[in-house]
């Protein structure tokens, strides 16, 4: 039996539901020795901004129980360098490309989307309104409905391409934010970004991150991510891209059962550079073994009675 692994996220057609989580896969080149990039559902690029950002001071990561903190702070060389280096590289790779965009202001988001909109390598945008690691903008936009909707609306006006809005888990009610960005024109929502956390070195009395706080990712956050994907997918009608601690195919299945149409593999890429393929192959095998003809049947198939 061959399993139909294709899924649709709005207008975006993916070979399989396994995408890369922004910031954990660069633009793919670094992983090309480990996985066949053209076998991915999509590459979601690292976050790009209009101008170059230098990110935060080091140390920028800390390991925690079943997780890690990062405070990279969206270091990137700006959109022009991104076009020259990353998109040029991706031109030769047969894979849908989702560009993750960030800004310090609404105007920056819009300028960025406009600059990238007619670029043929860009198949969709993921609007990052949930980065906990930048001072201006970032998560602040993603933790209340009004700015979240404003940014979505403005980006929506700037592109006809599929628009994914990436939500922050650091909120009282993620459903409210999801509904706001859906109403403002998002074609899909992706969640979750990292949980704001902190680590301390008891030996030195110092925070482990130079920035003190950072974003928690990895298996530790999977229960929170699953809960939010379930809540959001029950409330919105646009597709949900689920992520947060996916390490195995079973993890991906769980996110799909909770309501995700596609999933992203993040931190797992650091532990195992072949993780995306391992998850995609395992997902197909999972369906095959159970006689599930189309992987998309898993979406929302959670049995709650």
């Amino acid at each position: 039996m061959t399993v139909d692994m294709s899924v649709k996220v709005g207008n975006l057609e993916l070979r399989n539901p396994v995408m890369t989580a922004s910031g954990t896969f660069a633009s793919g080149r670094e992983f090309a020795e480990f996985v066949d990039l053209s076998h991915l559902g999509a590459i979601v690029t690292k976050g790009v901004s209009l101008n170059a950002w230098s990110g935060n001071a080091s140390p920028r990561i800390a390991e925690t129980s079943s997780g890690m903190l990062n405070s990279i702070g969206l270091q990137n060389p700006g959109v022009e360098a991104f076009i020259e280096r990353d998109l040029a590289y991706l031109a030769d790779v047969d894979v849908p490309v989702v560009v993750n965009v960030s800004g310090h202001s609404l105007a920056e988001y819009v300028a960025l989307v406009e600059r990238l909109d007619d670029h043929p390598q860009v198949n969709a945008f993921e609007i990052n309104i949930s980065c906990p690691n930048v001072d201006a903008g970032g998560m602040a936009f993603g933790t209340s409905c009004v700015p979240a909707a404003q940014i979505t609306e403005a980006c929506r006006a700037a592109t006809m391409k599929p628009l994914i809005v990436k939500l922050s888990p650091n909120v009282t009610d993620i459903v409210e934010i999801a509904l706001a960005v859906e109403a403002a024109g998002a074609d899909a929502v992706s969640l979750i970004n990292t949980l704001l956390g902190m680590a301390i070195d008891a030996d030195t009395f110092k925070p482990k991150l130079a920035r003190v706080v950072g974003g928690l990712s990895g298996p530790a956050i999977k229960p929170v991510a699953l809960r939010m994907v379930w809540q959001v997918s029950n409330a919105v009608s646009v597709p949900v891209i689920g992520m947060g601690g996916i390490m195995t195919a079973e993890d991906a299945v769980e996110f799909m059962l909770a309501g995700a149409s596609a999933v992203s593999v993040g931190t797992a890429n650091f532990v195992d550079p072949t993780a995306t393929m391992r998850v995609a192959d395992g997902l197909s095998e999972f369906c095959r073994a159970r006689g599930i003809a189309r992987v998309s049947e898993l979406t929302g198939a959670l049995n709650t009675d």
Binding site: F31, G55, S58, P59, F270, V271, P273
Partner: protein
Amino acid sequence: MSCAHDTAEPRRVLEGVSVLSNERVTEGVGLLVLRAPHVASTVRPGQFVHLRIARGRDFVLRRPFSVHRVRGESIEILYQVLGTGTREMSLLEPGAVCDLVGPLGAGWIVPEGLAHALIVTGGLGAAPLGMLAEQLAASGAAVTVAMGAPTAERLVARGLYEDVARVVDVATDDGSAGVHGFVTALSERLLGEHQFDVVYCCGPEAMQRIVAAQAAVAGVACQVSLERLMACGIGACLSCVVSTHSGLKRACVDGPVFNAEEVLWDSSEIPPKH
């Protein structure tokens, strides 16, 4: 000295490896020998491997370790027990299987026609220079080594260096071997006494910084190997940045070996424990 790496980088792979032996070298230091045919046959001096010490989700991150020496299909890692991962590492028994990603990073550069190299090591900094010392000696270059450590016992890999180097000068913090004091006193003297083509240095970042300054004064090219916290090890995550005159570089792919004059010594080094 050319800054570009002369040959194509060896292919990086995820390699399943097995433990051949794991012996205590001295208090808190072990030597792990792994069967790792791919890395063994392709690694160059100064490169490292990203080791997954234990299965399970407890250790979300791999741990980077330099390849100390290669023997046939096996690689040797000289490691210091510092935290949770290296403690776990010290418990690995022969036969245990794990995996690594490697070989990674840009190693030491050997300039064309090198005749006399000075190697300066501090503590476990002796690890990533072992393979280099062996290869330099094999190529007929003269090697002088200055080693420093807290005590005589902690002069790890001293035997290796004595086998291949013309001179091995040692310094210990407690005077239990060689000169009483820091290895930087040795390097300063040696740089005054001899004409070196290049200085290779690894150890605590503060020490590397001093040696780099000494080399600059002496007008000798100097390469250093910098440690940074690393998540991916393959250039994707930007957790390992080093400030240089040409901007932020990634220690895992642009380094760990850097041309010392490129480095903007800053506060992003990993603070030494205790």
